[in-house]
């Protein structure tokens, strides 16, 4: 077995093993440490000794031994008794449920979002603390603390390892999907440093979304999120120029888009839409699919996109959606319509660079060069991204000449 295959196998098994150990012993924090040690032992021994017949059972047993050692050495007879009681009480469930329960636990609303993200990548994604720290460009000690606080929080607020009650199911699943969405975004837009993308994070988000989709194939929003990620990631190769500069959708070389990802995303989306109920991620994925389907920018079905943004706006009430609807409106009926729509955003998005950037684009479309330059400059001064700042400044400079 190659190193890469072994890594894949271990990461695929990590959440299943952790889930099984938590179910048996109850203590998330200790179980997490024990599983990390078992994974490390496997990475050390398997290349030389060969992969055992049942790798999952081997790992659960190895982690279980460590847990038992831990419990013994902790001179805590009471804890051992409690653990044994929990072990007896725990009903037999499948691996599938363990992975889902682990996700629900890591994305529990009692945790702050950054904690939930870090814990999900570590416990469900099987990434090491060092890998997570490097992905978010913070020191390992800082990330270790973030993870350890998250575990502490789970312990102190009694977050259960279990499926949410039926009434809680929808909001809890939404929290899980939101965490995966943020991990994808972090990788796709790379909020740290000058780099535009960190594919390892977007790849990890896609891997986890695929896993959830396999576990809950009938849930339209899970499919919607996976489709949205695939349809967005398909455009990644065309999003950055040779000098690392940002290339907007309208100017991308569409022959570089990944047709395999587009086909897969479209299939997942179509399958999910058959369930009838349509959620936010599905609508966003439908918009992404419409962009991806257009071989040339002028082939884009803006009328449909406009209608979908209208739907999304009613579902979310998010002013950022209105901003996108204004762009679509400009493409369908001209820049004046878009500029008019933007007026209602002066309150909710006051001072936001994206409002200025969209205004600049629409003024440029309308041929009002002076207003476009002023808004491009205002947007460049307020953006918090270097590639975007360069893009907006260049845009203004081009009009100035």
């Amino acid at each position: 077995m190659t190193q890469a295959c072994l890594d894949d196998l271990l990461r695929q098994l990590a959440p299943q093993v952790l889930g099984a150990v938590i179910r048996r012993f109850g203590d998330f924090s200790a179980a997490e440490d024990a599983v990390q040690e078992a994974l490390l032992a496997a990475a050390l021994h398997w290349p030389a000794e060969g992969v055992p017949a049942s790798p999952r059972a081997w790992l659960i047993q190895a982690a279980g031994h460590r847990m038992t050692d831990q419990i013994r050495s902790d001179q805590a007879r009471r804890r051992r008794e409690q653990a044994a009681a929990r072990e007896r009480a725990a009903a037999e469930v499948t691996d599938r449920d363990d992975t889902l329960k682990l996700l629900f636990m890591c994305c529990h609303p009692a945790l702050t979002t950054p904690s939930a993200i870090a814990l999900t990548l570590r416990a469900v994604g099987g990434l090491t603390t060092a890998e997570i720290a490097s992905a978010f460009l913070v020191p390992e000690a800082t990330m270790a603390q973030r993870i350890s606080r998250a575990k502490q929080r789970i312990k102190s607020s009694g977050v259960p390892f279990g499926m949410p009650a039926p009434a809680d199911w929808a909001p809890r699943l939404r929290a899980v999907l939101h965490v995966l969405y943020l991990v994808f975004n972090e990788g796709y837009t790379s909020s740290a440093g000058q780099q535009l993308h960190r594919p390892e994070l977007s790849g990890e988000a896609i891997r986890l979304a695929r896993m959830v989709h396999q576990l809950l194939p009938a849930d339209g929003e899970v499919g919607g999120l996976l489709a949205l990620m695939l349809l967005t990631d398909a455009r990644r190769p065309a999003r950055v120029g040779p000098g690392g500069e940002l290339i907007p959708l309208a100017e991308q070389d569409r022959t570089c888009w990944d047709q395999r990802l587009i086909a897969e995303g479209t299939a997942v989306l179509t399958q999910g839409l058959a369930t009838g109920v349509v959620g936010e991620y599905q609508v966003q994925a439908m918009i992404a699919a419409l962009h991806d389907e257009a071989g040339r920018v002028e082939d884009t079905d803006w009328a449909q996109i406009l209608a979908l943004y209208g739907l999304l706006e009613r579902m979310t009430g998010n002013p950022m959606v209105t901003l996108n609807r204004a762009i679509a409106a400009a493409m369908v009926t001209g820049p004046a319509a878009g500029l008019q729509l933007l007026e209602q955003l002066d309150g909710p998005l006051a001072g936001h660079y994206r409002l200025a950037a969209v205004r600049a684009h629409l003024y440029e479309m309308a041929g009002d060069t002076q207003a476009a330059i002023a808004h491009y400059r205002a947007a460049a001064a307020r953006t918090t991204s270097i590639p975007e700042q360069q893009y907006l400044a260049t845009r203004a400079a081009r009009l100035q000449r």
Partner: protein, 134 residues
């Protein structure tokens, strides 16, 4: 999460205009303990990226490319030495509000007699992600 740089220069705050070299030894110790405790706390909350103090303006050099020939290197003493950067913290936090909260703590560092020096802390957001074209 967003990274912010919290900058402080040598300019004394409202609390004290006295340079640290003229403080009582115990007050200097208390000030350093305060800074270290704040750093330890920010590590434990998983928010500290880096914290550094810089050597004084006495050691500063200002380097300017001069076109032809060697660059111009200016030594101190500098007239505006109070405007020099004394140190910084980089934090990775959930919101600007949290960065401001940490800056407010730093500005409350004790000076002579344990009185907060109320040094102004500049809070600057580090450039990050462009918006996703999702």
């Amino acid at each position: 999460m967003t990274k912010f740089l919290l900058l402080q220069n040598y300019e004394g705050g409202e609390g004290s205009q006295l340079p640290m070299t003229e403080w009582a030894p115990g007050d200097i110790r208390a000030h350093i303990d305060f800074q270290q405790a704040l750093n330890a706390e920010l590590i434990s909350t998983g928010e500290l990226v880096d914290a550094q103090g810089l050597a004084g303006p006495e050691l500063a050099k200002i380097v300017t490319f001069a076109g032809v020939g060697p660059p111009v290197v200016t030594d101190g003493p500098f007239l505006e030495s109070k405007e020099f950067l004394a140190g910084y913290r980089m934090v990775d936090v959930e919101s600007e509000a949290r960065a401001i909260e940490i800056a407010a703590r730093a500005s409350a560092a004790p000076g002579p007699g344990g009185v907060p020096i109320q040094q102004p802390i500049e809070v600057r957001q580090v450039m990050g992600a462009p918006a996703a074209d999702l």
